[in-house]
């Protein structure tokens, strides 16, 4: 739209530039056919299918689900929120890793420094902690929701088992993270918690020794649990989550048995 004096207006220029970008080879190589970001997208049933089918989301969702399953009150989004909180905790956790050293006095000092020396350090630490507690709660509620809907029945039995493994892993992730601030709360909560595991018959002492790296919690435990918390357990969890989601798509999840 030209303005009065025959020159091309700013809005027009921006719009043209946008069209130019959206029709470029780079842009259309990024967004697959059917993507709403692609030039010429129209809201058609075909494109609505393509949005999912031509997207990485196809790993998580089918093209269509039953109408009743979409109601918020049906799932309360608990499974999706568990996954989302895992991602959120990964992001905030990576942020915290930049400022944290898992050695004896330093760990505590680094946590203190988060509140004073690091921009948004305290906020991110808070989000990581509250998000972790929320994730335990959400995973637990997700399990209860699945039970009350009878969603563990054939053919989805095994995915329930995978879910129980994921619940256990979530607890372990939270528990290993609990020690890392290296304050009185962390030390003694973990002492009490891991003492319970040491009562296991036959292997209790060995498991306890391997987990806390000694007969009692020491600064060495800090490094051990740090590695478990930031690498080992997330890795295992991701593997089980992949299986969990895959089985949701194969055996049925939000949309009931396929």
């Amino acid at each position: 739209m030209a303005n009065g004096n025959g020159r091309v207006g700013l809005r027009e220029r921006i719009s043209q530039a946008g069209d130019h970008i959206r029709t470029s080879q780079v842009w259309s190589s990024i967004f697959r056919p059917g993507s709403p970001f692609r030039a010429g997208y129209t809201d058609s049933p075909r494109n609505r299918s393509y949005v999912i089918m031509n997207n990485v989301l196809y790993h998580l969702h089918p093209v269509k689900v039953k109408r009743h399953a979409v109601r918020l009150s049906y799932t309360l989004c608990l499974g999706g929120l568990s996954f989302f909180l895992f991602i959120l905790l990964t992001i905030t956790g990576i942020f915290l890793m930049f400022y944290y050293r898992p050695t004896s006095p330093q760990a505590y000092l680094d946590i203190q420094a988060l509140a004073t020396d690091v921009a948004f350090g305290q906020l991110v630490r808070n989000m990581h902690r509250w998000g972790a507690h929320l994730m335990v709660l959400v995973v637990f509620l997700h399990m209860a929701r699945v039970f009350y809907h009878g969603a563990y029945k054939p053919p989805r039995e095994f995915n329930w088992v995978v879910g129980i493994v994921l619940l256990t892993l979530t607890l372990l992730l939270s528990f290993t993270g609990y020690l890392l601030p290296w304050d009185q709360l962390a030390l003694w909560a973990v002492t009490v918690g891991s003492n319970m595991g040491a009562y296991a018959p036959v292997i209790g002492d060995q498991v306890s020794f391997a987990l806390i790296g000694g007969v009692q919690i020491t600064p060495d435990t800090l490094l051990r649990w740090y590695v478990l918390h930031v690498l080992f357990l997330p890795f295992i969890t991701v593997v089980f989550m992949a299986v969990h989601f895959w089985r949701v798509r194969k055996d049925g999840g939000i949309s009931g048995p396929l």
């Binding site: 269509k64 918020l72 509140a115 990581h128 009185q184 003694w188 918690g193 319970m196």
Partner: protein
């Protein structure tokens, strides 16, 4: 048309008769290759006539004599045509089965009423020039017209409905994930993220004094999700509360789908399952809350509103 059951042959003949406007019996006779009332004269070898042409079979004309002399020690003669008519199994298959059984048991092949001549050991010394010739079956047990080492298969079979996977699905009330579900999910993620940020702005994560091995706080509590177990520790032996109960708890949860055989998902059909699960859910919630807020110094009972809360997240 060797080996086809009579009813299939008849159905085919009826269809053809209808299409060509001819008499059914006439077509049937033509399909069988001979005059209608001559079931003995069905062609003997299915493998020898792979072409399903209505022409007379290319196999040699069966000898009219059923060779009763062979039936010496081989048991009673069998009327395969009659058996075929009653069971629906084609004559050559019956014959082959009979011969196979005889060979396995080491007996001569029993005589057959209406059997083709190839089965009769007419000329054991005669060596056939062509492998495909029926006379090549010089040994009495060999099937007619099928050379040694050649296996033939019949592809004709009846597939019952429901015997294979049903791919047809009944129509359901479905909606597209985009935009209906993804929009909801996106809003849910945003709400949770916003809620978490706001909460984190106003409530700081706890950080007590530096870890001190020589000074155990009183009470010492595990993280909140283990407080139910810690509560149990004050009632039971550590072996029970710390090991057996959590182990059985996790295993018990995992095997729920294999114990609960009830296929229904309607709550009214699942009263027992829901009751049991709710009991454990409620019990763990009560234990956790009790351990969190009603346990004071020495892990003794205390009211949170009089003695204060001994609990940290």
């Amino acid at each position: 048309m060797a080996g086809l059951p009579d009813h299939l042959l008849r159905r085919s003949a009826e269809a053809r008769a209808k299409a060509e406007g001819r008499d059914v019996e006439e077509v049937l006779a033509e399909l069988k290759g001979e005059a209608p009332p001559a079931p003995q004269q069905e062609a003997p070898a299915p493998a020898a006539t792979p072409e399903p042409a209505p022409a007379p079979p290319t196999a040699p004309e069966p000898a009219p004599a059923p060779a009763p002399a062979v039936s010496g020690a081989a048991g009673p003669a069998r009327d395969l045509n009659a058996e075929s008519a009653s069971s629906g199994v084609p004559v050559p298959l019956l014959q082959r089965a009979m011969e196979g059984r005889a060979r396995k048991e080491g007996k001569p092949v029993p005589a057959m009423a209406g059997a083709p001549a190839a089965a009769a050991p007419a000329a054991p010394s005669q060596v056939a020039p062509a492998a495909a010739a029926p006379a090549a079956a010089a040994a009495p047990a060999a099937p007619p017209a099928i050379p040694e080492g050649v296996t033939t298969q019949r592809l004709l079979t009846v597939v019952k409905a429901g015997a294979i996977q049903q791919v047809k699905s009944s129509p359901q009330d479905k909606v597209n994930v985009w935009p209906h579900l993804l929009a909801i999910e996106f809003v849910a993620l945003m709400v949770v993220t916003a809620g978490l940020i706001v909460f984190s702005v106003f409530v700081d994560a706890p950080l007590l004094e530096f870890a001190n091995f020589n000074e155990q706080p009183n009470p010492s509590k595990a993280p909140w999700y283990f407080l139910g177990l810690q509560e149990l520790l004050s009632y039971f032996d550590p072996q029970v509360a710390g090991v057996i109960i959590p182990t059985f708890g996790v295993i018990g949860l995992a095997v729920i789908p294999y114990i609960d055989k009830n296929p229904s998902v309607k709550p009214s059909d699942r009263k027992l399952a829901i009751m049991v699960f709710s009991f454990f859910l409620f019990a763990s919630a009560v234990l956790t809350i009790y351990g969190s807020f009603f346990r004071g110094p020495g892990f003794n009972f205390s009211f949170p509103w009089t003695d204060g809360i001994f609990f940290d997240f």
